[in-house]
């Protein structure tokens, strides 16, 4: 069980706390730099992996992540090391985390597919029509940074056009400007929807089953009926949480409760 990489909703942090947080991060990085830099830890992990010492590699990559350096490459390498150790569930968790940070990375996607091919439960494929499927795949593949930039540029262009509207005296010019505003606005809306989709995907409460076999019960507690059984590596959506139990559901609609320790949140 490793701690999930911190994914704070930084967008909503009060601006006043920002300097304090940054100063803390700086201190932490200075402290770790004395012992071992994340870069050297990462390379240690790679060397251990190459020598076949996957457990050492796992420890090294975890150290990198614990230093607050949540780099998709470290997550991906950690997933590879788990994969080599036969811990398919943990490998899938790491790959999914890496993919959230680098959605357009084909290597992560390939290895995730490979790991999913090793699990017992066949992943239920939602029946999507052709154009919707392509649109979804495209949305998931878009790199997050350029998408944000594109959205902001379109947003500014739209706002610029809209702001210029009352300044233009002529009716004809005003009509052209209104059309341009509309066009830019539609584009900005599309890009904004893509950003929103990525935000939703990042925040999706999804967990991976870790033990070989988990009984999904009708309620939180061992006394409840076993509804169905899932196996290591199966991806489930998280619902409510009660004490040490969490509600999980499959895309097929099956849902129930499992011990919180048997799943790892992505």
């Amino acid at each position: 069980m490793i701690p999930a990489p911190r994914m704070r909703p930084a967008a909503f942090l009060p601006v006043a706390f920002l300097p304090a947080v940054m100063a803390g991060a700086l201190l932490a990085s200075v402290a770790t730099a004395r012992a071992a830099t994340p870069q050297s830890l990462f390379e240690d992990g790679n060397a251990a992996y190459k020598a076949g010492h996957y457990d050492q590699a796992v420890a090294a990559y975890q150290e990198v992540l614990a230093n607050g350096i949540v780099d998709p490459r470290a997550l991906y390498n950690l997933g590879n090391a788990y994969f080599k150790m036969g811990r398919i569930g943990l490998a899938i968790v790491q790959y999914e985390r890496a993919l959230r940070l680098a959605p357009s990375d084909q290597e992560i996607r390939d290895n995730l597919d490979l790991a999913r091919g090793q699990i017992h439960d066949r992943p239920p494929e939602p029946e999507l029509q052709y154009p919707i499927r392509v649109a979804r795949d495209t949305l998931e593949m878009l790199p997050s940074g350029p998408l944000d930039a594109a959205f902001l540029v379109l947003w500014f262009v739209t706002a610029g056009f809209a702001g210029a509207l009352p300044l233009v005296g002529s009716w004809d010019r005003r009509r052209v400007l209104a059309l341009a505003t509309l066009a830019a606005g539609l584009l900005a809306l599309t890009a904004g929807a893509a950003v929103a989709y990525q935000v939703r995907m990042e925040e999706a409460a999804v967990a991976i089953i870790l033990p070989d076999k988990v009984d999904v019960r009708s309620g939180p507690g061992e006394e409840n009926t076993v509804l169905f059984t899932v196996h290591e590596g199966t991806r489930m959506e998280l619902g409510n949480r009660l004490d040490t139990w969490v509600q999980v559901s499959l895309p097929t609609g099956l849902s129930g409760w499992v011990p919180a320790s048997s799943v790892e949140k992505v």
């Binding site: 994914m7 470290a74 947003w155 706002a159 990525q198």
Partner: protein
């Protein structure tokens, strides 16, 4: 007595006719018998468990039409294991014909001790004739009578024994025969060879032997082991007595499933020479007898192959094998076919090996292999050989290596899986023949193929690691950048709105819109251009013209007199003729409004055209 006489007569007639006829005449007074009779006979009345009893039902009469087989359903102590075999004989003696038909059955007793063949009914010409019941004693297994010891025959009732085919009154020599099945190994792994041997122990001369039915081995895959043409006879001593041991059949058995498997009993018919005490019979023809013997059920344990250490490519071969990979040449050219042969040979069965164990070859085009397999038996052990002949075509020049091919099997001797591998084979591939005259050789291109899927290797971070857990769209700056344009726009719009609401803006708007309003009002007036509404029309045109000037100069239309309008227009620099036209038009309207006579439509059209023209001209002049 009659039966015996008949028997004798039959035998003689078969060999020496004259003598036979004389004997028959002298001893058989029943030649002219026209009565049909039936009787049942057994080959012996004492037997051991596991042996078969031969029952013959004979029907004798002058004619045998409308005669059916005996009803065997009444048998309770016996199981019908073979039969019936039917033989019919016909003879003609002193003008009287006699026919006989015999049904012969092989019976297996169901229990030990005294058992009875009940009276059997035979339907002859519409009525049922019955045989006499026969008692048989079944002894425990292995109680084979010594050859010279007379059997303790105790025929039922006072009548003579109707038993063996031998002569009545003399004791027939017992037949010492025993059929047994044996295996070399009572427990073997699935797929490991078990050699089954079917042996006939005999103290009698065996003339012929053949199986009653085809042996079946459920749960096994059986391979026949050929026996030498001359049956192998071994002399052994059992219980102090000399016996001959004849191997009748050998099979190499391979269990296909694990667990306790049984080899069912096999029944054989054996023809033996009888020792007859009758010198006459012995002299003239070979007294033989056919008996049926049955082996016991054998139970064999088939062990499952261990799950531990099973190699990935294991396809079920059990035994001891070697693998060889060879190519028919070590140097070739691009597009020049090379023969590649993989041969697996050794002791055991290769029937289950289906997948040719060849790895995917890059830079080679490979065709489906020709598979051939042979098997032979050496020292009772099955040896198999399977060959895959591939034709591969090198697609690219250079040193191409066929990687080692692996083959895994289970070795029952060491009780472990073994994997053998071939040596890698290198083939020097030269560039293909260049066509003389062409500048460049033609290269056959092929797609780059993925040989197999594997995970991608680690990612490296030459540019250093970065914390990427906070994407830009989650940063406060992003939110700020999202809000700023909206705020700026709102400010701009608010300012513009405030500017529009000032009196100057209202005046300017009024001035800007004057021409449009006037044009719309004149268009409305056109609808009133009829004599009944002539007044309204003129009033409307006059009002429009006055309001236009009012809008343009920011004055109220009601307070505008001709004088005032003239001042305003002159002040704005409108040309003299335009001003005159304006006034003329306005006056025409006033005149028509108050002089009801003029409701001429032509006049109205003229006034409207003049008004539109004047306003257009004024607009141009005022905008300039």
């Amino acid at each position: 007595m009659i039966a015996t006489a008949h028997r004798r007569a039959l035998a003689l007639a078969g060999s020496v006719c004259l003598v036979a006829a004389a004997v028959a005449l002298g001893s058989s007074p029943v030649a002219a018998q026209d009565q049909v009779s039936v009787r049942a006979m057994v080959d012996r009345q004492e037997m051991s468990e596991g042996e078969d009893l031969r029952l013959t039902v004979e029907i004798i009469g002058p004619s045998l039409d409308k005669v059916g087989p005996p009803d065997m359903t009444v048998l309770e102590d016996f199981e019908l294991s073979a039969g019936p075999s039917v033989s019919t004989r016909y003879q003609w003696i002193n003008g009287a014909s006699t026919s006989s038909r015999s049904y012969t059955y092989a019976l297996t007793p169901k229990k030990l001790g005294h058992v009875t063949i009940p009276s059997l009914g035979v339907l002859v010409q519409g009525r049922t004739l019955r045989t006499r019941p026969i008692d048989v004693t079944v002894g425990p297994r292995g109680a084979i009578r010594a050859p010279n010891q007379p059997p303790p025959a105790t025929p039922r009732g006072a009548g003579p024994r109707e038993g063996s085919q031998g002569s009545q009154g003399r004791q027939a020599a017992p037949i010492s025969l025993r059929l047994r099945a044996e295996v070399d190994n009572r427990s073997a792994y699935v797929g490991q060879q078990i050699t089954l041997r079917l042996v006939l122990d005999t103290q009698t001369e065996v003339l012929n032997a053949g199986p009653l039915d085809n042996p079946t081995f459920p749960g096994f895959w059986a391979e026949e082991i050929k026996l030498p043409d001359q049956p192998e006879v071994r002399r052994v001593t059992l219980d102090g007595a000399p016996w001959n041991e004849i191997t009748l059949m050998k099979r190499a058995l391979f269990a296909t499933t694990s667990g306790s498997l049984s080899i069912p009993p096999m029944a054989w018919q054996v023809q033996v020479r009888r020792r007859s005490s009758d010198p006459f019979e012995s002299f003239f023809f070979t007294p033989t007898e056919t008996v049926t013997r049955r082996s016991d059920t054998l139970t064999v344990t088939a062990l499952p192959l261990p799950a531990a250490g099973k190699p990935a490519g294991f396809s079920g071969a059990v035994g001891s094998f070697s693998l060889a990979l060879s190519t028919d040449r070590t140097a070739s050219k691009v597009n020049d076919a090379v023969g590649l042969k993989i041969k697996i040979a050794g002791e055991g069965s290769l029937g289950s090996v289906v997948a040719p164990p060849i790895p995917e070859l890059a830079d080679f085009k490979r065709f489906d292999p020709k598979i051939s397999s042979t098997s032979s038996v050496t020292d009772d052990r099955l040896r198999s050989e399977k060959t895959w002949d591939y034709v591969v075509i090198p697609l690219a020049p250079g040193t191409q290596t066929v990687p080692p091919v692996e083959f895994s099997f289970f070795d029952p001797k060491t009780k472990a899986y073994r994997t053998v591998a071939s040596q890698p084979v290198s083939i020097q591939v030269a560039k293909g023949d260049e066509t003389p005259g062409s500048a460049l050789p033609v290269v056959a291109q092929s797609d780059v193929r993925l040989l197999r899927r594997d995970m991608h290797y680690l990612k490296l971070a030459p540019d250093g690691l970065r914390d990427r857990s906070h994407p830009f769209h989650r940063s406060p700056l992003f939110l700020v950048l999202l809000i700023v344009p909206v705020a700026v726009d709102l400010t701009l719009w608010g300012w513009a709105r405030g500017r529009d609401n000032s009196p100057e803006a209202a005046r300017s708007r009024r001035e800007r819109r004057a021409r449009g309003v006037a044009r719309r009002r004149l268009r409305d007036a056109r609808r009133q251009m009829r004599p009944p509404t002539a007044r309204a029309f003129y009033a409307s045109v006059a009002q429009t013209m006055t309001d236009y000037v009012g809008d343009k100069f920011g004055a109220a239309g009601a307070g505008l007199t001709h004088q005032k309008i003239e001042e305003l227009l002159a002040g704005s620099g409108a040309p003299e003729e335009l001003r005159a036209a304006y006034h003329h038009c306005l006056e025409a309207c006033d005149f028509a409004r108050f002089a009801p006579s003029s409701s001429d439509e032509g006049e109205m059209r003229r006034v409207l055209a003049s008004a539109e023209e004047t306003l257009a001209g004024l607009e141009r002049s005022l905008d300039a």
